[in-house]
Amino acid sequence: MTPPSSPWADALRAWLTFWFQPVSMAQLALMRIGTGLVLLYVLFVASFDLEAHFGVDGWGEEAALRGLNPLAWPFSILHWFPNPFWLWAVHVLAVVVAVAFLIGILPFWSGSLMLYFLLSYSHRNPAVLVGMDSLLWLVLFYLLLTPCGRMFGVMASPPPPSTDYLPGLDSRKEGPHWEGFPVRVLQLHLCILYFLAGLAKLTPDWLAGTAFWHPRLVETGVPLAQETLRAHPEWSALVIYGVVLFLFFFPVLVWMRRFRYLMLGAAVAMHLTLGLMWGHFPVHLLMLVMLLAFVDPLHLDAALQRALRWFGWLPAAGPVRP
């Protein structure tokens, strides 16, 4: 006998189901690995200008830069070590923590510590912050709240000795799926970011259809076929307006089951093109990692299982599990 339901109870159930949906552990693990790789890249690139940006003999004196940071308490571990040796020691420690997060050693703690290091760099010199930093903060913040170390990590429980692959999705679990909550907030946050990125594109550069030949992009050697664009300016306008329209429509259409994979496919194409053409590849790779949150967990598990079998890392399919 089913309990009597009221419209309010139904609405509440639908509301909670929306926020606490199950998530695949494989999905979380892939996001953790992708984020960890980008983190390592960011730290590696930061090594080239570490002393120039964050050292005591760098271009930005601490007292001069402090005025740029309006936060009441701009904490930074780098304020404690005004010395090149200790600056490098902290940096090496940050790399070790990033490796720990990548391979899944206590992801909550290693992720929290990594977030602290990233904020420390940013608060030591807020003038060198770029969009990549804010994206890393976001994805780290949400990922460390999930059990992202349960699969594909050194602390993951070993797979059962069976012939088939145990998917990371445990949909049989009763009650709310707490692991789905941070992922849902991340999805919504991403939608807001896409919408705001669309708004930010409503500038003369973009509306005139000339964003492709910005001086900065030209002087850094972006591989643009300028002669072709000059002969056919409508092509660049088409691409630019297409990007703006996509950024506005993505936050709506990605929630519709029918259009979800179309939107995700367009996003992958856009990010790969921009990443390869404009040299921003790591930041677009991070966006693709975050977009993994939108993939249906069942589809992702099935695709992963098929891919692992194709590479021969899993035995052939056995009998279906009851």
Binding site: L65, L129, V130, G131, T203, W213, P215
Partner: protein, 217 residues
């Protein structure tokens, strides 16, 4: 859960029921707490948590980058630590890679040579590294006298020999979007450059003198 002494003065009627007369044990905290909160389901925590998420996302929408350019207000939430960066575009996001402003300096060397450099150096690779320098250059073009002096000290320390003079400018690309001029290939970049003198370093006296407002070159 009965934890009082069953044969005590306070419950003498229990003697007549034939209950045991064993020594009473104090209550155990764990079972007592479990029993106390058994009616409260952990699922109820979901509702305030989702409302918190809605407030958080509304904050993200209203204060992108921790800053609202329309209200000219900064988010006061704890999460502003995670969303803060110096605003360089209308929405508060850093747009250093595509920004038009940067630092340009001219170094008058002792051998009479004049070297010109920019902050960022466009030859820096990979792009992320260039982007950080571009963010620094873009931000430094503002009215930040302390930062200009700090950059000048850094520049001088990087030179192999002391210069005679260094001039630092806030540079800005200005061009007509409707014409085929710079940045198209084959057009003179100097025509699209707007310079504003920030200050001069005298190599003889080793003094950095900021320029007054409105100093153009």
């Amino acid at each position: 859960m009965t934890w009082w002494p069953r044969n005590s003065f306070y419950a003498p009627w229990r003697r007549s029921t034939g209950d045991s007369t064993r020594v009473p044990t104090p209550p155990r905290l764990g079972p007592w707490l479990r029993e106390l909160f058994s009616d409260i389901r952990v699922e109820y925590l979901c509702i305030p948590l989702t409302l918190l998420a809605v407030v958080h996302l509304a904050g993200v929408m209203l204060f992108p980058g921790g800053y609202n350019s329309v209200l000219n207000a900064r988010s006061g939430s704890v999460f502003s630590y995670l969303t803060y960066f110096p605003a360089t575009d209308i929405l508060g996001f850093p747009g250093a890679g595509e920004s038009r402003a940067f630092l340009l300096y001219k170094i008058y060397a002792q051998n009479g040579e004049v070297l010109e450099g920019t902050f960022p150096d466009p030859r820096v690779k990979p792009y992320l590294r260039y982007e950080r320098w571009a963010a620094a250059g873009n931000l430094s073009t503002g009215e930040l006298a302390d930062v200009h002096a700090s950059i000048m000290t850094f520049l001088v320390s990087q030179l192999p020999e002391p210069p005679l003079r260094i001039e630092m400018f806030a540079a800005r690309w200005v061009w007509d979007h409707n014409k085929f001029t710079f940045p198209w290939r084959g057009f003179n970049r100097d025509n699209a450059l707007e310079l504003h003198l920030l200050g001069t370093y005298n190599g003889l006296t080793r003094v950095w003198r900021p320029a007054g407002k409105g100093a153009e070159r």
